[in-house]
Symmetry: C2
Subunit: 298 residues, 2 copies
């Protein structure tokens, strides 16, 4: 395990993720060049890389090889990037700003952005299938299935569908948690579990503990996001601020109020960290990362 | 191998595919119900099931179990269905009729149709990863990678991107063939190869021969489609007829003229069938299917 401080580890891991994405995405000159340039635009040059960071941090629990982690980190990030490109389309959130730059359909065009999302999803599964990410082919199939279940209609896309249906409606906390458990939580959980699955086998107890952590972390990330959406500026976020409230979308802040939402985030943080106890010192990066996610802007 | 006549085999295989899709798609009442109903609408109750038919016919070359073939046939058909739903969207072809019914975004709504396509793609990969489709996990990973390469930016979606860029332009025959080799040919080829890969191992020579067949069949299918688009009625096609010409899209008919396009289809048919020689009597269904595709409406 590396001895560097968290800030250096995070910067190095973000750079490693960026380099791996640049290498694994189709070359920008390759045919069809317009589509490939747009895919690179949608994935490179921005983003906090929370999901890759979680995968790399979880990989330390099982001594996972960096080469394996790069593949799963990029696959999860491509799924995330595809969802952002499609969410930003005019028929969905109709947003023009993402990571401080024009959204994909603004910078390119709408049909290209549609194909960018489609192709990034495909590439994620291609990477998971054609690269070594574990020594065991059977486990590799399980990892692909996990990524698919986390992304599809019972995962991220399903959460997006519930979100669409909820606009202007009053959700209670269990309903809101179900929506977020799918919309953002499922892929956060997948990133964490997949990182650990790249290394040595976990015991059933370790797997269950990591799953508890990953579910709490996913929820925590969403609560923090809702708080930031209401407290931070567009410039700080790099995306349009206050758009949840403008769209009359239910958030933890609208449900609980700002102070209660902050207190809930703190409870989730403590629960998440408690779940890491069985891993001892190996969980150092995951612990630091959780604290970072929780305290990044407030 | 079954002794029934081709028409009975085809009808039975289409019904088998429909039943398998109905079983493998999310239940219509399951949350999020609106999305799951729309996914079922987009996949069930219509379509010629050309790709499933190819997979089942190719499975006879290697004595593939029907249970394996059902999975790959449904996975390929879900990829095909996702591409149709996204192609029909207002920002792409903006079409209102498909398989004789309103397109998905007309019957439901545009954001839902976007998520339907996204989720069908995910489900295709999930099915390939979490079900037995071969005895060998290593080969299963290769099959997933083959489906991904055939669907993504170097396959079907890439062909769609070239198609978008070609509207109103004059393509020559090699350019047109590259576009179609990706847009429709790649998935037709994948359906055929995946069907055969569900069974006993092929020799390198057999694999190469089947690949030659599959590439010719994919091109043949597109040439026949272009001919039908210009000669058949909307009622016969179950989708808007003449839309290629209306959209000023290059087709084999616009490039070669109707008679030459028909002659070219016949040449492709003969080349495709010649490639099947090494398989002898086991290739009976593939041979019959090729003839059916070639002669279905003219």
């Amino acid at each position: 395990m590396s001895k560097e401080n968290f800030t250096d580890w995070m910067g190095g891991t973000q750079q490693r993720s960026e380099n791996a994405l640049a290498r694994l995405l189709p070359a920008s000159g390759s045919i069809p060049a317009h589509l490939h340039e747009a895919m690179r635009y949608a994935c490179l040059g921005g983003g906090k890389r929370v999901r890759p960071l979680l995968a790399f941090a979880a990989g330390e629990l099982t001594n996972a090889p960096l080469a394996h982690l790069e593949i799963v980190a990029c696959a999860v990030e491509m799924i995330h990037a595809y969802s952002l490109v499609h969410d930003d389309l005019p028929c969905m959130d109709n947003d023009v700003l993402r990571r401080g730059r024009p959204t994909c359909h603004i910078e390119f065009d709408e049909p290209t952005a549609l194909l960018v999302g489609d192709s990034l999803q495909t590439l994620a599964f291609q990477l998971m299938a054609e690269n070594p990410i574990t020594e065991e082919p059977g486990r590799q199939l399980e990892m692909i299935a996990l990524l698919a279940r986390s992304s599809g209609s019972h995962g991220m896309a399903g959460g997006q569908a519930i979100d669409l249906a909820s606009v202007g409606k009053s959700l209670n906390q269990p309903e809101l948690e179900l929506m977020h458990a799918l919309k953002t939580g499922a892929l956060i959980r997948a990133a964490t579990l997949l990182g650990a699955l790249c290394g040595t086998a976990m015991s059933t107890e370790q797997h269950a503990a990591l799953d508890r952590f990953a579910k709490r972390a996913g929820l925590l990330f969403q609560v923090v996001d809702d708080i930031l959406d209401c407290t931070a500026s567009t410039a700080t976020l790099g995306k349009t601020a206050g758009k949840d409230e403008a769209a009359d979308k239910p958030t933890y802040v609208s449900l609980l109020g700002l102070q209660e939402a902050k207190a809930y985030a703190e409870t989730l943080r403590q629960d998440a960290l408690a779940a890491l106890t069985p891993f001892g010192e190996r969980a150092r990066r995951l612990t630091e990362l959780t604290d970072f996610i929780c305290h990044r802007h407030f």
